[in-house]
């Protein structure tokens, strides 16, 4: 399909390849979230997950509903919220550091039996 901004001679990459990218990023992010010891690195992985979802939204919007813009709007929301959430998370980590003197997530395991 072609639109006003892209000429027909630019062949598009198939949708499925973009989806592969998005899924791959999601699982890399999940792997990082579950296995890293440094809390800051876990935050970076969360950002990766969120970004993968963003790619997913934009791809579906562009390929399936070119006339509408809801996907892009949702993506902007997610970016904003991710930024805010990162700020809150850093604040929590700073508080945590004050208690445990470490940013190793395995050291903060007191809420248990």
């Amino acid at each position: 399909m072609s639109n006003n901004f892209n000429t027909y001679y630019m062949s598009q990459t198939p949708l499925i390849q973009i989806l592969f990218l998005s899924v791959g990023l999601f699982f890399i992010g999940m792997y990082g979230l579950l296995t890293r010891r440094n809390v800051i690195t876990m935050l970076m992985s969360i950002e990766l997950i969120l970004n993968s979802v963003n790619i997913n939204f934009v791809a579906f919007n562009k390929y399936l509903y070119p006339q509408k813009l809801e996907g892009l709007f949702f993506t902007l929301f997610i970016i904003t919220i991710a930024a805010a959430e990162a700020a809150v998370a850093i604040a929590i980590i700073i508080n945590l550091y004050r208690s445990y003197q470490s940013i190793d997530v395995d050291d903060a395991d007191e809420l248990k039996w």
């Binding site: 999940m30 979230l33 579950l34 296995t35 997530v105 395995d106 903060a108 395991d109 007191e110 809420l111 248990k112 039996w113």
Partner: protein
């Protein structure tokens, strides 16, 4: 009149119990005795008023005294027909018992003012006496069979508390436990009997129960007599089991073992409970249900045989006992045996009811002379500080009033005219001679033996050798508080026989005239005089004839002295059979199986909990793993399973 008086009669002792129980020990102390005595005095006066009003002023239907139910309040209702009510029934025997119980209790209260003076738990003693009097009065006023069972148990509890009054003595504690356990065991039979009768008659109320089960055509009578268990109809079973309860409370053979031991309690308590009132509760129960017993030959025979056996058994044992209170205890058992078999010699109605009249008359007179003798024994024990006959002798010089009153009591129980016992025993023997000659001869022999052992007791205490009397204290006999009850009861022991009992208390309420037949009475009186003469020869002056006879009888004498080894038999059965075969296995099951199951449940729960608590490890990444796992599972469910 009457509802308020009748409610006050047991209500005042109850109020005395509550008041003295709560405030007596700390605040009222010495004044408690006066409070208890005053409450009983008012109760006694009210009973006499009620008695006068019932016997002289109440309405008679066809010349028969009616039983009046004064109040009947439903307390607990099982079915529309069977419900436990709380009520008061006035009829001839309950009015007679009201007078007897309140009068004897009043005498005991007055006596205890001096006897128990100086006791630390003086107020508690009077509180318990109040509780006992309340329970006994409630028992005689009960209008239904379950209410009588409740008061029956209350009387048992009061007896337990009073026998174990000196709780620091291990023998007293053991005696009170024995009394309670034996009577409680008997009450098992009583309860089963109540359930049988009330199930078939569909009522608990005495009047209705008797009316339904004596009417030979009523459906209830048919249902209770058709069908039998082991060849005996349900009615007979019920009545025999109820009699088992009565036999336990009245210390009939073989449930008599508690009565001699119950003498561990203070002597005024023995006078009240174990002589005049509680032990006659069994007789009262049979008298209450007499129309039912009179229609059931087998139950009546059981009552008769148990009565005569107990009577003879106790009389023989009493000849060898040396503790004066034990002699009096066995004497009580013997006299209650008389009352029981006298009931069995009667049938309901008219001339046939002579045995019933005689039994109630003997209950009336026995209460007076037996409590007289127990209170006299109290004075003697207070003086000598020892219960045993060997420490006494020649006391007539020191205790003149007690000497005379005790002599009056002994003459009364031996059946010498014109004392009270003569009239009541004569009626019993007359009723016996009409019905069953064998029983008559056995009763006659027993009354001779009674005269013998009572005068053995009298002579050993007041004559015989000179006792070693303590030099310093107690050179005086007793104060007025201990002498007055003795004198009053002695007057009653003489006068009670002259009451024309046949005018008042008979099996069906109609007047049954009684008369003294001199020719008939010659034989019992002669036997009694012979008994007294033998006792005179053996015990009046100090000699060794009695010990020579005892040595001559050898093993037989020892067996009788040990009360025919019945206690040893019971202990053997309890320890070797019941404890080993039933107690120990039951305890093993309880400790190992039941405790084990509960402990197992707990330990299984604990170990499961230990295992699964690892899920909450506090590690963030593990929680995230569970979170992602859950989301994946939900996604699979929503995409593939729920379309």
């Amino acid at each position: 009149m009457n509802e308020y008086y009748v409610a006050l009669i047991p209500g005042l002792p109850l109020a005395s119990f509550v008041l003295l129980g709560i405030f007596g020990r700390k605040y009222l102390k010495e004044f408690s005795g006066t409070i208890g005595t005053l409450a009983l005095l008012v109760s006694c006066v009210l009973s006499l008023i009620v008695a006068k009003s019932y016997f002289f002023d109440s309405e008679k239907i066809n010349g028969a005294y009616q039983s009046i139910v004064l109040m009947n309040h439903t307390w607990l209702s099982f079915t529309p027909t069977i419900s436990i009510k709380i009520g008061a029934m006035i009829d001839h025997i309950s009015v007679m018992m009201l007078v007897v119980v309140t009068f004897v209790s009043l005498m005991v209260h007055i006596f205890s003012l001096e006897y128990m003076k100086g006791e630390e738990r003086f107020a508690t003693y009077y509180a318990f006496l109040g509780l006992f009097t309340f329970s006994m009065l409630g028992l005689v006023l009960s209008s239904n069979i379950f209410q009588i069972y409740m008061f029956w148990e209350l009387v048992g509890v009061s007896s337990f508390l009073l026998i174990g009054y000196y709780y620091e003595k291990p023998s007293a504690v053991a005696a009170s436990k024995k009394a309670f356990i034996v009577t409680r065991f008997a009450d098992l039979g009583f309860l089963i009997g109540i359930l049988i009768l009330s199930f078939h008659a569909e009522t608990l109320d005495f009047k209705l129960l008797i009316a339904k089960l004596t009417d030979l055509n009523s459906p209830e009578y048919l249902s209770i007599t058709t069908g039998s268990f082991l060849g005996i109809s349900a009615l007979t079973w019920g009545l025999c089991l109820i009699f088992m309860g009565g036999a336990g409370k009245s210390a009939m053979f073989p449930l008599h073992i508690w009565l001699p031991d119950a003498m561990e309690g203070p002597t005024p308590v023995s006078a009240l409970i174990h002589a005049a009132t509680m032990v006659v509760a069994g007789v009262f129960l049979v008298a209450r249900l007499f129309p039912l017993f009179s229609n059931t030959e087998a139950a009546l025979h059981l009552v008769g045989y148990v009565g005569i056996v107990s009577s003879m058994f106790a009389a023989i044992i009493a000849c060898t006992q040396t503790d004066i209170k034990r002699v009096l205890a066995f004497s009580t058992m013997s006299q209650i045996g008389y009352m029981m078999f006298s009931l069995s010699m009667a049938k309901y109605g008219g001339e046939n009811g002579l045995g019933y009249l005689a039994s109630m008359f003997h209950l009336f007179t026995h209460a007076f002379f037996k409590s007289l003798m127990f209170l006299g024994a109290g004075v003697i024990i207070h003086f000598v500080h020892n219960n045993d006959m060997s420490a006494m002798g020649g006391l007539r010089k020191y205790l003149p009033v007690t000497n005379i009153t005790f002599l009056i009591g002994c003459l009364a129980i031996s059946g010498i005219p014109p004392f009270a016992g003569f009239f009541s025993k004569e009626e019993i023997l007359t009723a016996c001679s009409h019905e069953n000659k064998t029983m008559y001869w056995l009763a006659l022999i027993t009354s001779g033996v009674t005269a013998f052992y009572m005068f053995r007791l009298y002579f050993s205490i007041f004559w015989n050798k000179e006792a070693h009397v303590h030099g310093d204290h107690h050179h005086h006999e007793a104060g007025w508080a201990m002498k007055l009850p003795l004198i009053l009861l002695a007057i009653c022991s003489i006068g009670a026989g002259l009451v024309p009992f046949g005018q008042f208390v008979t099996s069906d309420g109609l007047v049954l005239p009684t008369h003294v037949d001199l020719g008939f009475s010659a034989l019992p009186v002669t036997l009694a005089v012979i008994g007294i003469a033998i006792a005179w020869m053996l015990y009046k002056n100090e000699n060794s004839k009695s010990s020579a006879i005892a040595a001559g009888l050898g093993g037989v004498y020892t067996a009788i002295y040990k009360k025919f080894y019945i206690d040893e038999l019971y202990i053997f059965v309890t320890k070797k059979i019941v404890f080993n075969l039933i107690g120990r296995p039951a305890a093993w099951i309880d400790t190992n199986i039941i405790n084990g199951t509960v402990n197992l449940t707990a330990s299984v729960t604990a170990s499961v909990s230990e295992t699964i608590k690892g899920i909450q490890s506090g590690r963030l990444q593990q929680y995230l793993l569970y979170f992602f796992g859950g989301v994946a599972t939900l996604a699979l469910i929503f995409i593939y399973l729920i379309k």
